[in-house]
Amino acid sequence: MQQQPNSDSKPTGTGGAEEPRRSWGDVVLGLATLPIVAFFYAEALTFRKMDWEPLGMAFWPKVVLVGLAILGLAIAADGLRRRTDRNERFRLLAFLPWVAGLVFLAVLPWLGTYLAGLFLIVALSWFLAPEKTLRHAGIAVLNGVGSLILIHIIFAIILGLRIPSGALGF
């Protein structure tokens, strides 16, 4: 998919506007692919060979991994050759929902969906709120409680799906 114009899209290279800027992101991406490919390729070498089948179950992953390695090298070379870097900047704030999601998953077996979900929504709403006021804290709590009521109605009552409960029984 083509990228949409983004407000946070800034060159990551070094130097001024007229200086050639290499695409270091591409170089890192391409080179990082190689050890990962090598690791999985080594794993594929351990696959059993079946007598009744000419290609074997390692054939396809090996083909794909070799292709990925070649493409990785090509991307790295292209990154070095490139005159402008059009990649977009990574921002730490982007990982906030992701980390919150992982914490939610980690505590889910103990707290269950309702408590862990309440934590996820309230904490994330609060951290992402434009201001840290009492009003926004209230909005975060209301958001959590309201969303969980909606989730309970849709998933548990209407659809009758199993919602993961934790050690506390919620």
């Binding site: 059993r48 493409l71 977009e88 929902p97 992982l102 994330l124 992402l128 998933f155």
Partner: protein
């Protein structure tokens, strides 16, 4: 014609009411990321126990139509594909909606869904036996050829970054090899973890790639960035000019969707992507906005094709008893509960059930359009909610929906894993749709390639079997066209620079 005689028997208030309920449930489930049409049909099967088979099947088919269509709403407004089928819809739909044309995007998506369903219903009614005869001619070489043709869509889906598009497709193809090898019954890359035995599920991967990555992207804008407003200020009624310009797009996408739907295990996701790629290739170079940046033709191609898979899947389900996708597998279960066996005998022994399916497809498509047109204004208001209020519950909704697929927490971990992958790749301008194509087509291509080589002792059938050869030639034409376009783009850029 017996079908025409049966119409009065099928147009009963009960049947129409059941179809309405089915479409509504399907839309609601389709809108919720993580919940699939198959799940919606499975949930409603118990309600059909007490109904006559014709009524029960009408309702289940209505759920199928609603489920596949509802997914487009979240794809358009939130860049969150409700179902795998709506992945291609967001490529142009989300840029349209975020560019202030949410109404136009929803209108075109809903109308295209209706047209796609109607085209495939017409093919189902008129040519089911012919299409079924075509379907049974598909053997390993034909599947390999179709997959190769499907993969040529990478060029169109990569925009101006073909190298990275191929790289993304490689990641998708590789990710699809993780888990139990279906041909050997032996796990691969499982590292002795039970949770990896079943491999990486498609839907959690898609929701991670697009929805979680989008939430991460929105969060990265921080407090100072204004929330992007997707307020629906324009009309949802499709413009005549859009429809007139895309007549051939509708027909081509409807045919692609039906043909892909006939092939078992393909489904709406690849149908939408292949059709999108073909529409992009066929579009004029001067098209504004270009594909990938909010072209109405992209939304039309994706939505027409993914809904047209419904008719294709029903063709082989009714005539041969083969489940083409998970939904038709569940539908077969619904038929068997009533003591009916899908296949040629169904047409002679229980023709009324077949007609009920036909009627339900036709009526459901109109009802789906009416419901979505009526509620689109209301639904679009979701996108007006500020990000700090909207995104946390969306993340939880997606997590619970994904968990509900198999009652497996590992799927939710997969979703978050693909989320960070999607965010990282997008920052590096690696296009995500080719990755989806690789994920979907990888297992089909590998399985059939290995079986073909095992059975025919080589790849010559790809060039000797007529259907396989046709698809191979189409693939070759697609590749040559992509190369030609790359050369032309480069020449244009050079001319501009000079």
């Amino acid at each position: 014609m017996a079908f025409l005689d049966a119409i009065p028997l099928l147009f009963t208030p009960l049947n129409i009411g059941l179809i309405f309920v089915g479409v509504l449930v399907g839309i609601v489930v389709g809108i919720i990321p993580g919940l699939s049409a198959a799940m919606a049909v499975a949930l409603l099967i118990p309600f059909t126990y007490s109904l006559e088979p014709i009524n029960g099947m009408a309702m289940l088919v209505a759920v199928f139509v609603g489920g596949l269509s509802g997914g487009c709403i979240t794809a358009l407004l939130l860049r969150m594909p409700g179902t795998p089928s709506s992945v291609a819809t967001l490529l142009d739909g989300y840029p349209m909606a975020s560019g202030g044309q949410a109404g136009r995007a929803i209108g075109l998506a809903v109308f295209s869904s209706m047209v796609g369903t109607l085209i495939s219903a017409a093919i189902l009614i008129v040519a089911a036996p012919v299409a079924a005869a075509f379907a049974v001619k598909f053997y390993f070489p034909e599947y390999v050829a179709v997959c190769i043709f499907g993969l040529t869509a990478i060029a169109a889906l990569s925009g101006d970054t073909l190298l990275k598009g191929l790289f993304a497709a490689g990641i998708g193809l590789f990710a699809a090899t993780i888990g139990m090898s279906q041909e050997d019954g032996v796990p691969r890359f499982d590292f002795e973890q039970d949770s990896l035995l079943a491999g990486l599920n498609l839907l959690p991967a898609l929701i991670g790639l697009f929805a979680v990555a989008q939430i991460m992207k929105e969060a990265s804008k921080g407090r100072n960035t204004k929330t992007q407003s997707l307020a629906m200020t324009d009309s949802v009624i499709p413009r005549l000019s859009d429809l007139r310009k895309n007549v051939w797009n509708f027909i081509r996408s409807g045919l692609i969707g039906t043909i892909v739907g006939v092939m078992p295990a393909m489904g709406g996701g690849p149908a939408g992507l292949i059709s999108y790629a073909q529409a992009k290739n066929a579009a004029r170079k001067t098209e504004t906005p270009p594909y990938g940046q909010g072209a109405p033709g992209g939304v039309i191609a994706a939505e027409t094709a993914n809904n047209a898979t419904i008719g294709g899947a029903l063709i082989i389900m009714l005539t041969l008893g083969i489940p083409g996708d998970p939904v038709s597998a569940v539908l077969i279960g619904g038929l068997m509960i009533h003591g009916l066996q899908p296949g040629p005998q169904l047409f002679t022994n229980n023709a009324e059930v077949v007609y009920s399916v036909y009627l339900s497809m036709l009526v459901s498509s109109f009802m789906m359009a009416a419901i979505l047109f009526s509620f689109s204004k209301l639904l679009s208001r979701v996108a007006l909610v500020p990000g700090y209020i909207l995104h946390p519950p969306l993340l939880l909704f997606a997590s619970i929906g994904v968990y509900g697929l198999n009652n497996n927490l590992f799927d939710v971990w997969v979703m978050f894993g693909f989320g960070v992958l999607g965010y990282t790749l997008e920052r590096l301008r690696v296009p995500l749709p080719p990755l989806v194509l690789g994920l979907v087509l990888g297992p089909i291509l590998e399985g059939n390639l290995r079986k073909m080589v095992g059975t025919f002792d080589g790849i010559t059938p790809l060039f000797t079997q007529p259907i396989a050869l046709t698809f191979m030639l189409m693939a070759l034409a697609s590749v040559l066209f992509a190369i030609y376009m790359q050369i032309r783009q480069r020449r244009d850029r050079r001319t501009k620079a000079e």
